[in-house]
Each structure stands twice: as C-alpha cells, then as structure tokens.
C-alpha cells in the first residue's frame, strides 16, 4: 500500500481475496485498504476481474457458483463471515454502489423524489416533511438545479449526467463508509464525465467517504485516485500511490495503459488567437479531394399527435462542409447526438441526404441513381463500432471478405480467394482460418476482419465509425497502428468518426469538431487540439482527463455553462442562420458565435 503516513484506521481492509467460478480462478489474491476520504482506483480491461472483486466485497456473487476466500474487514467485522441478513444491512447502509449505466439503474415509472425517499425511509427512518426536506437536500447536494421542481419528475426527463448524479445522491443517502463506483462515467460524454468526477470529489471531501473506483481509463485515475491497483487476468500487476504509479510505472502493461491517455489534449492551452473573419468556409485540400461534402444537411421528420402529422424536424446534420485529401485522415469528433455518425451514414446512403452535395473523387453522387451509388460504393467503405455485430454470425470470415468482391465484380473465383488470403495476411490474420466463423475470433481480430473486408474493394476512402471505441486499450492501440500502416500501403483516406480523443490524436491529420449537427471548428490536428478557438471545443477538450496526477492543480477547466442544451428538433420550415467563419491559422477555421 501507499507509504503515506495516515493515523486514521482504514475503512475497509481486503486481504488475499480470491474468487473462483467452478474451480476456475478469476481473482487471485487481491489485498488493499482504503482510508477515510481516500480513493483507490482499481484499473483493468474487460475480464481482468475488477468488477468481480467489487461484487465479491458486496457478496453479490451467487452462492454456490462463486467460491470466495480471504477476508474483507469493514468496521472490524469480516464481511465474508456475516449472515445474509446482516449483509443486507451493510449493503446500501455501510457500502453503496454506483453502476455504469445510469439509464437503466433508475426505475422509469417512479418519480425521482419517490425513489430517493424510499432509500432515505429504509435507511434513516424519516417521515413526512422531514423526509421531503431530506430528499431535496440530497438533490441540492448533487447540484441538481430546481430540486423542488425536479423531485416530481420521472427519470426520462433527466439527462444521463443528471441521472448519474441522482444515483450518487442515492449512494450517499445513508452516509456510507465506502462507495464502490463501477465505471460510473464510462457511459457518459466527456464533458458530463468531468462534471460528475468533480462532483464526486467535492462530495468525498465533505463526507469523508472512502471510494473504490473501478475504471479502465488511466486519465480518470489521474484525476481521481489517491492509490492505484492495476489488475490483469485476475492478478494484481502493480499497486501503489497514484504519483508513484504514474511517475514510475514498473509493469509494461501499466505503462501501456498510461500511454493510452490522450496526451495532446492533456497539454491544452486556452489562450485563443483571435480569428480573422473570412465569411464562408473554404473547402480545401491539396489536389483532388477524395471526398467532398458541401452544405450537407440530414433531417429526420418528427411525427406526432393522433394523425401522425409532421410536427417538426430533427436537424441531425446542418450545413456541413469539409473535404478529405488522398491518403489523409480527417477526424470527426463530438459528443453523442452531435451528428457525427449521421454524416458517415449519409455519405454511404444509410441515411438520406436532405440537402447539399457529396462528391467522391470529383464525381457528384446521385443518391437516386443505382449506377452512381454502385460507383460510390466501390470507392467508399465503412467499418463499424461493433466488429461482432457487423459480421454475419453464420458466414465464414473468408466468405465475408470474398462476397463484396463478387457482388461488385472486382474479382471472382480463384482470384477472389487469393486476394482474400492476401488481405488476411495484410491485416495480421492467418489465412488458414478463412473457414472459421466470427465467434471463433477475439474482438480485435474481428475488427481486423472488418478492415480486410473493407479493403477488399480497394476503396479510396474508409469511413471508420467509432471503429476502435469498443476495444480494450491494448487492442485499440494495435488496430490504430494497423490502420496507419495500411493507409501508407494502400494510400487510402479515412474519415475517422470518434469520441475517443486518444485515438483521434494518434491517427488524424486534421480534426473537425461537431456540436449539435454543425461543424464548429476544423483544422490541422495540433491546432484544433492544442489551441482550440471555439468555446465548445475548449469546453470539450478541457473536460478530457489529465495525463498525470501532478497536473490536477494546473489544469484549466471550462465546465459547461448552465444554459440548457440546444434542441436539434426544430419546427417545420426552420432555416438555420448562415454560418460565419473565422481563420485562426493556416487551414484552421473556427465558426463565429453570433
């Protein structure tokens, strides 16, 4: 454990915890202690045993299926020896949990107030006006605006971040000695994550609760933790204070996790260079662009009422223009709902273009003409987020790679098979496994299959829609390196759609930032990420976790303003005001706020 002198007794002391399922060990000897007001980060990738550890502490693993050994001492008692009835009083009373999915952990048919009141009533025995006041106090504590109003509302009217704050309020309801937070911000957008982490830290200072923080993101660890425990395959790889681990990581795996934190964004400067107004955004690349989008708009109708009349339109993408040069990678970043995926789908005709023009290799794509579409599809391919979901589970991977070649008549028969085997080798797979089904491969290997399938068409452009977001850190790095290598070899361009700044930093030449369907800033990677000009870009980037705990004090932070978020749903007949652009540096353009 950390060598920090601390006279306080540890709140919880776990020694030599071992968990096995059907004699298969999944946690092999974990020991740690957490002192009051301190945070221990439990770090690892999926399957490392980090969540099982937390469930074992709460004794939430099914008896008989899981075998738990070791000891978990809380308040001087060993939790593993308690009866189930005693344990129930510990759960939610002395230890509470916050889960990853705030969308599903609240009951959708009960008001927020009722759900909070239930917890308070059970654990603190309050009634009537006292109960009501306690609930309001809890909402105020987690910074929910207008608690008197909000307490009567249902969970669906709360945003993801607000729901997670309600979950935190519930977890704190009975002053627990310890909170177990299992990836509490993983499902949240980065700006919301920053707010949630700040809130957790503030509340922890007020209440002195010990926190066991489970995460896979070293940036979050750098922001939050006092001590770190790195797990892999059920074993502890490294354990120590956060400064030790970040300054002097001993295990190569820890080093790779730390290296995966976005570094450019971590060195953010917010001293804006004043942009020179230029009026319209020039679409520029050297030579003939592979892809050119001009004033692209995608809208979805919203129907309502008894007669299902058109009530409004979702302006998913509005007046977006950009271009991608040969062999270039343009990153499209933004939070969920910003319209970045819709752009990729519109280009490849999975969403219909409302207005504007898409040009592929100089030719305007006519989305009503099958021949024009077929020509576009030979040039543009797509890789999806979920490499398992985007492969047909019943089709062998060799056949999956060959099929597009046959459909488009590029190669047939033996030639197609040879090309498939060659492609499998190029992406680092054994061609002998061509007959295997997708489920026989790991997540990273499946994404390699998807890349090989995309390359089979010898496209000029590959749209990668969150292509590495679902992968574990180490695999993610490998896939990005593979994509960079293949780009050099095949001279292919990428439209890299992602919310993952570390990946964007690594692979992109230029970056475009999306906010509510519009591009607000576009330019070379180092300019946009290093010296962002648009207030939203600044807010987005300053929310990205720091790279080293010693930056905690020095980091500029621009937390989201309190104004309600814009709605992308506009009344029928709405026209967006014309955009005005400013130029900050060569090729770096910033949308001017009106």
């Amino acid at each position: 454990m950390s060598g920090k002198p601390n006279t306080d007794q540890p709140v919880v002391e776990v020694s030599d915890l071992r968990v096995s399922f059907a004699k298969k060990p999944v946690v092999q000897g974990v020991s740690f202690q957490i002192r009051p007001g301190k945070t221990l980060a439990l770090v690892g990738e999926s399957g490392s045993g980090k969540s099982v550890t937390s469930l074992a502490i709460m004794r939430l693993l099914q008896e008989g299926v899981a075998r738990i050994e070791g000891s978990v001492r809380l308040d001087g008692r060993d939790l593993l020896q308690l009866t189930e009835a005693e344990m129930r009083r510990v759960r939610g009373g002395r230890i509470s949990m916050i889960f990853q999915e705030p969308m599903t952990s609240l009951n959708p048919v009960q008001t927020i107030g009722d759900q909070l009141a239930e917890v308070v009533r059970i654990h603190r025995g309050l009634k009537g006006a006292d109960l009501r006041e306690a609930v309001l106090e809890m909402l105020r504590k987690v910074r929910i605006p207008d608690p008197e109003e909000r307490v009567r509302q249902y969970p669906h009217t709360f945003s993801g971040g607000m729901r997670q704050r309600v979950m935190i309020a519930m977890a704190l309801a009975c002053n627990p000695a310890m909170i177990i937070a299992d990836e509490p911000t993983t499902a949240l957008d980065v700006t919301v994550q920053a707010q949630t982490l700040d809130l957790l830290k503030a509340l922890q200072r007020e209440t002195g609760t010990a926190v066991l923080f489970i995460t896979h993101d070293m940036g979050v660890v750098a922001e939050m933790a006092d001590d770190v425990l790195v797990m892999r395959h059920g074993r502890v790889l490294e354990q120590g204070s956060v400064d030790e681990v970040f300054s002097n990581p001993k295990d190569p795996y820890t080093r790779s996790l730390i290296a995966a934190v976005p570094s450019l964004a971590g060195k953010l400067q917010i001293d804006t260079v004043p942009a020179q107004p230029v009026g319209e955004l020039p679409v520029l690349t050297d030579g003939q662009p592979v892809l050119e989008a001009r004033n692209l708009a995608v809208r979805f109708p919203v129907h309502g009422g008894v007669l299902r009349r058109l009530k409004g339109t979702v302006h998913a993408v509005e007046d977006v223009s950009f271009a991608i040069g040969k062999g270039e990678t343009l990153g499209l970043v933004g939070e969920s709902g910003s319209g970045k995926s819709t752009i990729g789908k519109a280009i490849i005709n999975l969403a219909s273009v409302h207005a504007g023009e898409i040009r592929v290799c100089g030719e305007t794509v006519d989305y009503g003409d099958p021949r024009s579409l077929a020509r576009m599809r030979r040039q543009v391919q797509m890789i999806f987020q979920d490499p398992f979901g985007s492969l047909d589970a019943r089709q062998s991977i060799g056949s999956a790679i060959v099929e597009p070649m046959q459909v488009h008549g590029i190669e047939t028969g033996q030639a197609a098979r040879q090309k498939m085997e060659w492609l499998m080798e190029r992406v680092g797979l054994d061609p002998a496994r061509a007959r295997s089904l997708p489920h026989e491969f790991s997540g990273g290997q499946r994404q390699r299959i998807c890349i090989a399938r995309a390359l089979a068409m010898a496209p000029k452009l590959i749209i990668a829609d969150e292509a590495v977001s679902a992968l574990d850190v180490a695999i993610k790095g490998q896939i990005i390196e593979l994509m960079i290598d293949l780009q050099k070899e095949f001279d292919v361009s990428y439209l890299f759609i992602s919310h993952d700044m570390a990946a964007v930093e690594r692979i992109c030449d230029r970056v475009a930032v999306m906010y509510f369907g519009e591009i607000v800033e576009i330019g070379p990677r180092d300019d946009v990420i290093g010296r962002p000009g648009h207030p939203y870009t600044q807010r987005l980037l300053s929310a990205i976790p720091i790279t080293h705990p010693n930056m905690r004090a020095s980091r500029p932070r621009r937390i989201a303003d309190a104004s309600p978020p814009l709605s992308p749903i506009k009344p029928v007949g709405y026209t967006a005001p014309a955009a005005r652009w400013g130029r900050a540096a060569a090729g770096h353009f910033i949308r001017q706020t009106v």
Binding site: G47, A374, G389
Partner: protein, 293 residues
C-alpha cells in the same frame, strides 16, 4: 501480432453452431420423429407391405371385423382396411408436406419482403394476411376446394393458402428483428442488393423459427386435409384417404365402428407426432419459450 484471448463475455455470446440444437431435443421429440419416420416408410413401401390391393373389392368379405386374414377388417366393399390405411398415408403425407412447402416459400417471401421494405408494402401485405388469417383454415380451404374442384393440386393450393399468413408473420417478425442489426447495415453499406441480403444473410438467421412453424403447421395441414375429405371434398373415391375412410366408415358406425376408428387413430397419431416435433424444436431453439406457452 498478438491479441487478447476471448473475454468471458464474448465467449458467452457465441452463437450455437448449426446443428447444436439437436442435442437439446428431448425424448418426446424423438418419439415424434420416430412416428413420422415410420409413417413415411409405410407410405413409401405401401405396395410392398400392404397385404392386399387397396382398391380390390371382395363382396363376400364385406364389413368383416378384424381377423387373421384382414388384420384391421374390411369395409362395406370388402376392401382391406389395413392396405387402404397404408396407401392413405401417401396422400395425407404428400398433401400435408406439399401444402406446407408451398406455404413456407410463398409466406416467408411475402413476410420477408414486407419486413425488409416496410412502409406501405408492409401495411398492404400484412393487411391481406390478416384478412386471410381471419377465416378458420377449414372454412377457407372448403371454400377454395369447392370453387376449384377436389383434385390433388387444388387441395394442396387451398391448404397452402390458409397457412401462408402464419409464415408471413413469423418471417416478417424475424426480418424486422435482424433488419437494423449492424451486420445488415454493413451489407447495405457494401452495396449488396436487397434480395442478396435477405436470402444470404437474414434468411439463415430466421430459418430455425420458420422450420418450427412448418412442423406445427404441417399437423394443421394434415388435419385440414382429413376434414376436407370427411365432408366430401377430398380426393374422389376410390382413392384411399384417411379422412375419406372415416367418412365412409360413418355409414356403418353402429355395426362396424372399426372402419372409422382406425383411420381416425392414424390421423391422431400423425398430428400428435408432428406437434411433438414442433414443440420440441421450438423448445430446443429458444429455451426461453418453454414455460411461456
């Protein structure tokens, strides 16, 4: 290059390979399979195992009860009931099987198109299916056969027509569940045509459910065929059909009940066996449904 081993979550998400569900079939399902197989063999080898010509009349031996010469007795024309039953299996099985194959192909195609294209196509196709489904299959079959005449082809068409909506519905539901999955999106993004996506990618995913429907509806088809024959809209005499034999046996039900009894038992056995297979397949393919129904 290295890659992480399969995570437990990924391993749990493994789909079953094509024939793995066979291992989960329970004993009663296999009993059903055995009965149907035996009946199919009887039908195929009827000329070899039938003791007499099914149409040969023998005025001396008419209406004799089961005895050593005629194991199941004879009918009012002195024809051997056992021989007629064995040959009758040919018609019951053929009509049931053909009707379901026709209904499966047409119904599944309609349902898949409705589910994949959606919008107006979906509404129109499914409205028509609902209208067809609103009639009891016997009444609809009766009307069609009465209209077209009782030939083998017409009976098959009539029964197939009544079963089409069931296949359309299940295929549509399956397609709609698969349509927005990412692999279908990927296929569309690669420019695959609708028919290719439907037949090569979506159909294999929904085929097990369709096959369950087929085995359950084949029981219905056999029953409908027997019912049609019973009310006189089956194949023309002297063709031995089980439904027709029950009908003829009814004339002498008081004196010789065996004439109606044995064909009735044959129908019961076949329908029961097909239902056992259908239920067993459904339980094996989707274990969650087991207790729901």
């Amino acid at each position: 290059m290295t890659d992480a081993p399969l995570s437990p979550a990924a391993a749990a998400a493994r789909p079953q390979t094509r024939w793995q569900f066979l291992k989960r079939l329970n004993l009663t399902t296999w009993l059903g399979v055995a009965i149907v197989a035996a009946l199919v063999l009887c039908a195929i080898f009827a000329p070899l195992i039938a003791p007499y010509d099914p149409d040969a009349q023998n005025v001396i031996l008419y209406l004799s009860p089961p005895n050593a010469q005629n194991l199941l007795g004879t009918d009012q024309f002195g024809r051997d009931v056992l021989s007629r039953l064995l040959f009758g299996a040919r018609y019951s099985l053929t009509i049931g099987f053909l009707a379901i194959v026709v209904a499966l192909i047409i119904g599944s195609l309609l349902g898949m198109i409705a589910g994949y294209v959606g919008n107006k196509t979906d509404i129109i196709v499914m409205q028509i299916m609902d209208v067809v489904l609103a009639f009891p299959s016997l009444i609809l079959g009766l009307a069609l056969v009465a209209l077209m005449g009782a030939t083998l082809t017409n009976i098959v068409i009539a029964i197939a027509f009544t079963a089409i909506p069931a296949f359309a519905r299940i295929a549509r539901a399956g397609v709609m569940a698969q349509r927005d999955r990412e692999y279908v999106q990927a296929c569309r993004a690669m420019g695959f045509s609708g028919p290719r996506i439907l037949l090569r990618h979506i159909l294999p995913a929904i085929l097990p459910e369709i096959m369950v429907m087929a085995s359950l509806w084949m029981a219905t088809a056999v029953r409908t065929e027997a019912s049609l024959a019973f009310i006189g809209l089956g194949l023309a005499p002297p063709t031995p059909t089980w439904g027709g034999m029950v009908r003829e046996g009814f004339d002498n039900i008081l004196s010789s009940f065996h004439l109606a009894l044995y064909p009735s038992l044959a129908i019961l056995l076949l329908v029961l066996a097909l239902n056992l297979i259908g239920d067993g397949l459904r339980d094996a393919i989707d274990p969650r449904l087991k207790d729901a129904s």
